[in-house]
Point group: C2
Chain length 148, copies 2
């Protein structure tokens, strides 16, 4: 569905927010260990998130990543757009030039529903709503990946 970079960004940020709720401010080391993602790659991704203003960080001893509680919740869509643009939930399945409501490709009508479903999902859900669910649900088996 989404690419690795987006996936790691989701998981890392949900973990960070959930630790923030518990009064902690995890660093990279702790974060990648918790979500079992590649260390330096994830660091790079989080750096970008900080630069984009999606996430805050403090350097030095006792530092780490955190979300500013005063700022509005961060929708998944913002992250997806920043990392991979709109191509995962936009455009024609056929890759056609002029495919739209007036001039639909054979798959157009079936696909608009799917597309809207994806858009709705990532617009509605935020890192914060997910982190809250994650904290509540003891069954969730951490944020461990598929094959690890």
């Amino acid at each position: 569905m989404f690419n690795k970079e987006t996936e790691y960004a989701f998981r890392a940020m949900v973990y960070i927010q959930s630790r923030n709720y518990a009064g902690h401010r995890p660093g990279i080391e702790e974060t990648v260990k918790a979500i079992d993602a590649p260390h330096f790659y994830t660091a790079k991704i989080l750096q970008r998130m900080v630069r984009l203003g999606f996430l805050q960080s403090v350097k030095g001893k006792g530092g780490g990543f955190y979300f500013d509680a005063d700022r509005p919740d961060l929708p998944l869509k913002d992250i997806v757009m920043a990392i991979e643009g709109d191509r995962s939930f936009c455009g024609c399945v056929f890759g056609l030039k002029h495919c739209d409501e007036q001039n639909p490709c054979p798959l157009h009508h079936q696909f608009v529903e799917i597309r809207e479903g994806i858009d709705r999902m990532i617009s509605t859900q935020t890192i914060q709503t997910l982190a809250q669910k994650y904290v509540k649900d003891e069954n969730m088996d951490d944020l461990l990946p598929r094959s690890g």
Copy 2:
């Protein structure tokens, strides 16, 4: 949604089938021109489709690609599975290990609907149904790509 290879396979095969309906058997030259796709890349893709038995071809003078009318219709899902596997409509959005009905990730329930929608679409639609729509609809503006 799907990758380039899948996209070119869809478009090329729909074009070929629609020409077949009109009693013609296009070669790659004609095909890539019609759908405006990269010549050799598309050739390679169609070769693979032939090897997989999805499509037939004849070499030599007057040769080209065609679908055996006796064989059953070819669902898009067969093509997608052969080219990119199930990852576009399967697996956890978060990339989580143990995400399923019993042990869902926070996005699981919203996502199963989307996933099922995609699966339904590519299971139902075939190259043949699309080619028929394509032939009928004069508005369809050929099978030209987005940016070409």
